[in-house]
């Protein structure tokens, strides 16, 4: 509970990455709709709807920019994580601002709920002993024995987290127990596991694959889910020589740990030849694409300035784009994760496909 039953809550600094969390907290009734969402004035989103400001469906809550006055009318302050995708300077600036604001909130006697400190169980509960077990059990034939769904993205900022939440909810509503591994640390706030940090540490690639496999097996043993949904951090392909996107290494490592029974790929381009992408996934990662989710971000490379920029568009424009580029004979459906009908279609397809795996009851 983050402020229901008479207690009022403010979220600061409210940003695009927090939007899916907010929507989910509201949906689950963990947060009241009278929550105050505060973004620094310099971000230019003051007065906009909390969903529409970032191209997502309307949330009916208006973003404000005056934290000081908001702190006088709330009992709880949620500190939202913020990491700038561009300059480190922007992240440091917000961290410094936060220090002052947190101080003020504490002096006013507010309850502080710091989402930056929310971590999944990877680092403390599972990941650490795992390293020991993994070494001991490296030679065991470890297998993930529940159906697996992968969510990957061809670029950063392609709504992977929104997709993970949407399918987790869709499957849960259909009566399945879903265990989700999110790419973000604070997804633990939604009862998910966060992606293990050892995957980014300077340890050998083989070790990472073995650790990750062991991690998945143990998570499944502990939680006994019907479905394991894994959101893979980063991008799966290089954009160009200037922006190699980590060469999709993490995607490769994950694909060596286990094979998905259903694969969702989030993308931001409608022009690519999707069969080429499908072939690439098959040959590089060993599995085909089952569904493409078209994100509400567009990426643009300005070859004159050698600059990459991301533009957020309204989710309804995604529907229009999909309509325009519809390929009726395509094996792979193209969907919009902010369109509820599409989420239903996607859930149905996952259930149907997973029904072909042993032990999954449709």
């Amino acid at each position: 509970m983050y402020g229901v039953g008479g207690e009022r809550t403010a979220v600061y600094p409210y940003n695009m990455d927090f939007t899916p969390i907010l929507r989910e907290l509201l949906r689950r009734g963990l947060l009241d709709t009278d929550v105050k969402l505060i973004s620094p004035p310099g971000w230019g989103v003051d007065g906009l709807d909390a969903g529409e400001a970032f191209g997502r469906p309307q949330l009916g809550i208006t973003i404000e920019s005056n934290l000081r006055s908001a702190l006088d009318s709330v009992q709880n302050l949620i500190v939202a994580p913020f990491i700038s995708t561009g300059t480190k300077e922007a992240t440091v600036l917000i961290d410094n601002l936060l220090d002052g604001h947190i101080h003020l909130a504490i002096s006013k006697g507010l309850n502080l709920i710091d989402f930056r400190k929310h971590r999944g169980m990877d680092s403390s509960e599972i990941s650490r002993p795992h390293r020991i077990y993994a070494e001991e059990r490296a030679k065991e034939d470890l297998r993930v024995d529940v159906p697996v769904v992968f969510i990957s993205g061809v670029m950063e900022q392609v709504n992977k987290f929104d997709t993970l939440i949407a399918i987790s909810n869709g499957l849960t509503q259909n009566g399945y127990k879903v265990c989700s591994i999110g790419a973000r640390q604070y997804c633990a706030a939604l009862g998910m596991h966060s992606f293990p940090s050892f995957m980014f540490e300077p340890i050998g690639e083989v070790t990472k694959i073995e650790y990750f496999k062991t991690f998945l097996v143990d998570v499944c043993k502990k939680e006994k889910p019907d479905v394991l949904a894994i959101c893979i951090p980063g991008a799966s392909v290089k954009f160009n020589n200037d922006f190699p996107n980590g060469y999709g290494i993490v995607n490769y490592l994950v694909s060596m740990s286990t094979t998905p029974d259903f694969s969702i790929v989030c993308t931001n381009s409608v022009e690519d030849d999707m069969s080429e992408l499908d072939d690439m996934y098959l040959h590089r990662f060993g599995y085909s694409i089952d569904c493409l989710v078209m994100s509400n971000t567009r990426v643009f490379y300005n070859h004159l300035e050698r600059e990459l920029s991301f533009e957020t568009i309204d989710y309804r424009e995604v529907d229009q784009l999909l309509q325009k580029t519809k390929k009726p004979d395509s094996r792979i459906p193209h969907l919009n994760i902010f369109n509820e009908e599409h989420v239903e279609i996607l859930t149905k397809q996952i259930v149907e496909k997973l029904g072909q795996t042993d032990g999954f009851v449709v």
Binding site: S84, L93, H303
Partner: protein
Amino acid sequence: MGTPFVHLLQTPYGYYLYDVNTDLIYGVEEHIYNALRLLKDGKEALLSETEIGDINKLRDQGLLETKRPIRMKHPLSDRMGYYLSKKIEGISLQVTQDCNFRCHYCPYSQGENSSTRKHAKRSMPFEIAKKGIDFIQCRSRDAEKVRISFYGGEPLLEFELIRKIVSYSKNVFEGKPVSYNLTTNGSLLTREKIDYFEENGIQLAISLDGPKEIHDASRVLAETGGGTFDTIMKKVLLLEKEYPRYLRNKVIFISIIDPSRDFDCVNSLFFNHAALKDVAVVTSVVDDSNSTEKNRLSPQFLIQQEYDAFKAFATRLGWMERDRLSSITLHKMDNLVSFERTYGTHSIYDEMSHGGPCIIGAGKLFMDVDGNFFPCERVNETNGAMRIGNVKDGFDMQKVDKLLNVCQLTEDMCKDCWAINNCAICPKNIDDETGLSIEAKVALCADEKLRVEQLMRGYIAEKEILERCMA
């Protein structure tokens, strides 16, 4: 065979082709060079079978492609709506049109014959400045940081206004990194002002043209016509003595060089004066595009400049220390470094533009005292084509598009121009006082090609020198 998209260059030591499609320079033998010349001139029939064979070998290596752009269009043309609504990166504010100097080369100081505005006792009302800040605040959501610049006239005539703007913008942009800079003649600097600038991290650009005799020949007081060098140097000494860290970290000097003067003398101040050791200097030759008086180069200037260019090569090859070079030569060297950095990375696209125009309105937006918008502070404010909107009504997207697509003025020429990858003609250079001039652009093309060819020759010369030294 088709005409390959190449440019041929000859030096005393070799023959070269610049292949536009691969953006690379190749050394070739003399007979191939001659054969390529025939091919370029449409005299393919005169080629011998051996020459055709040699040319085909180059083709097999992926060279001599004939591909040219189909259309000239800036890659951001269809994206300007986004850039101007969400990614404006800063604004330069003309806080005043007044100045206490009357520099001889300044177009605003010139008489009625000058096409630009004149110095005037007009300042920006704070309300207009606020509107300008608010305008970019809600249009910079996707900009990582923003820059606010103060420009004039002489902006220090409006110090209190600047303080108010900084204070206001700090509140408005809370949560977003903001950098401030101010371009000044330096004469009105005081301890109080420097303290304020240092406290707020405001970067200063101070104009200083060289030693007293050079500086005072151009930069004179409005009221008396007297020289200004001594006044400026007092301020420099104050900075050196009491604000040494600020001087080294946040102050740059802008040195405008008059090419009719002695080149070495211009540079001597920055070499010899203790207070100016290790300061950042940006040098450029007098910009005469909006001026009635055009540049004249003295023979000594040319000779000394060439000698400095020779020293630049020696520096690049590690034979000489960089600090023995003049700032103007260092600047030229940096151009060669930028050329090398992007060398081999350009491609020919079906739809493309030559370089030059910035992201009109989003990169260097300039607002005059009345709230009118211009692409940058360097354009002619009286030319309607350059006025791309105002703070009340927003941007005139048609004008923005026209300035962005300056390449379309000479579309057919540009599509077939070997310098397309490195050309840097911007709208400012082809202003004919009422609009953009095709004739001015065509006239400028020859200069621009020469500039690009000089960069290529610099690149080749360095390789040749190294090759001959190693032999």
